[in-house]
Amino acid sequence: MWKALAFKEARENLWIGAAGLAILLFVVANQIGWDDSLPASYGFSSFGTAGGQIPFVSDDFGIGVAAVAALLAVALGFHQTLGETVHGTYLLLFHLPVSRRRLVWVKLAAGLAVYAACTVPPVLLFAIWAATPGTHASPFEWSMTWPVWRILLSMTMLYLAAFLCGLRPARWFGSRLLPLVVGAMPTFLLLEAPLPWWWLPVLITVVVDGVFLGCIQHVVRVRDFS
């Protein structure tokens, strides 16, 4: 039954994930310079043919990944929750003979899996390209990729915040979007502020994610699905 649920979630969110993946691949292609016809006006400078910058050190790639990953995370979180509300299918879902708690865990796991499946491969592809000798005239260490992985990890806070926004009842947009505002603050803190230890952003993300997961489970337990 978990397979059926996970398949349903993956199938419903496939198009959002596919859109995110396509845009990220475009960003990577632009960075690598595989498509020379792409205009520089997209805002990303190329390392490949028109290179000169060091992969994963330049801000361009990180900004591109952060923007796309943030949009993807928010879109997934809202779609997984508001989609059920709009179509009235919570009534169908929560009458299945499984606890609400488990149903939501599967939903979250599937959402995070779609997010990871669509964001990790493009970054990995770029890293493998950068690690391949002869592709660009600059040094490369795998540790240089860490800031981008950190960005992807921190966006899980936005995903969970959007999920909570879509799940919890609210009287107006301001209060509905409150979790997203709360989730955005540590996310931007991690993107912008230089942190002394590598594990600190991980710890912050894990703690904030934990708080959001607790809130989600609480809302699922107490909310009326009418």
Partner: protein
């Protein structure tokens, strides 16, 4: 006989509005119970509370002998729910919807699902989004009965269906779901549907269960008494069993449950010119019971009076 559904002082507020008010309901196993009420009477909220989708503010619910607040998945698997509007995942094909639901239920009757889908001529490859409302209702019914549930809870199952589809759906539903020992609770405001199916009814008025009795008893006990005065009718004093007293031109229409000597004495005191006692069918009885003081626009009353005076 044990009870499939028992509620004790079930109460729900939305904001300050009490939508279900200290509801005490007892539905025996094997019965078909029609929960009636106007829009907003609290039928759907009651059903959603029974299924744990809405949390009651007060009260207790037992479903199949288990506290509904902590219903075990195994017990939930014995209860089928047909939600209002028949929500299904629209991107799925009918076959995908069946394959999605099947793994959750230990006693899934695949042959029955195929039989129902064949009966309704629903191809498994057709997408839910391309089905009409009636067809969606049929798919939802097939999915609901497939786990061989002991208790079926149907929330306005025929809402939005045209007359022909509704009749077909209802007849199929009766054939499919009525097996020995199966309990059915369904809400509706289409009285003819209830009359055909339910052996017991409950009428919710503003969240209060005003009637809970066998269907035939309800029909037989509610009477309309028409008093003709030939002048503006006097006020009728409040008394037990009186549901409504409405002046219509020179007549006074009383709706009374089980008319008795006390009612007759009150009538005699008003000295009407004539008196007529009318039987009501279920629909008329329900309307009289639930509509409250509001009636048609006064202009129609005036016209009726005018026509009568011309006639005389």
């Amino acid at each position: 006989m044990s009870d499939a559904i028992v509620t004790q002082r079930l109460t729900k507020y939305y904001g300050r509005q009490r939508v279900v008010d200290t509801l005490d309901l007892r539905i025996p196993c094997g019965s078909v119970y029609g929960l009636l009420g106007r829009n907003g009477a609290g039928k759907s909220t009651t059903i959603k509370m029974l299924l744990g989708l809405v949390h009651p503010d007060r009260g207790r619910i037992d479903l199949l002998g288990e506290d509904a607040a902590a219903l075990a998945p195994a017990t939930r698997a014995r209860i089928a729910y047909l939600a209002e509007g028949h929500p299904l995942y629209r991107w799925m094909t009918i076959g995908q919807a069946v394959r999605f639901a099947r793994p959750f239920y230990p006693h899934w009757n695949g042959a029955l699902v195929e039989q129902i889908l064949d009966h309704f001529e629903l191809p498994q490859k057709k997408r839910i989004r391309h089905l009409s409302r009636g067809q969606r209702a049929q798919v939802a019914l097939a999915l609901a009965v497939a786990p061989d549930p002991e208790l079926l809870i149907l929330d306005d199952p025929t809402i939005g269906l045209d007359t022909v589809v509704r009749r077909d759906f209802l007849e199929s539903m009766i054939q499919i779901i009525q097996r020995r020992g199966r309990t059915i609770l369904f809400s509706s405001h289409i009285l003819s549907d209830v009359e055909r199916v339910a052996d017991r009814i409950g009428v919710l008025v503003d969240g209060v269960l005003r009637v809970d009795c066998p269907t035939d008893e309800f029909k037989q006990s509610v009477k309309k008494i028409v008093l003709e005065f030939g002048r503006t009718p006097p006020e009728f004093p409040a008394c037990p069993g009186l549901i409504g007293a409405r002046p219509v031109g020179t007549r006074l229409e009383l709706t009374v449950v089980k008319p008795n000597d006390e009612h007759q004495q009150q009538i005699d005191r008003l000295q009407p010119r004539s008196q007529e006692v009318l039987d009501l069918n279920l629909e008329d009885a329900f309307i009289e019971y639930t509509r409250g003081p509001r009636r048609a626009l006064p202009v129609f009353g005036g016209e009726a009076e005018h026509v009568e005076s011309v006639g005389v």
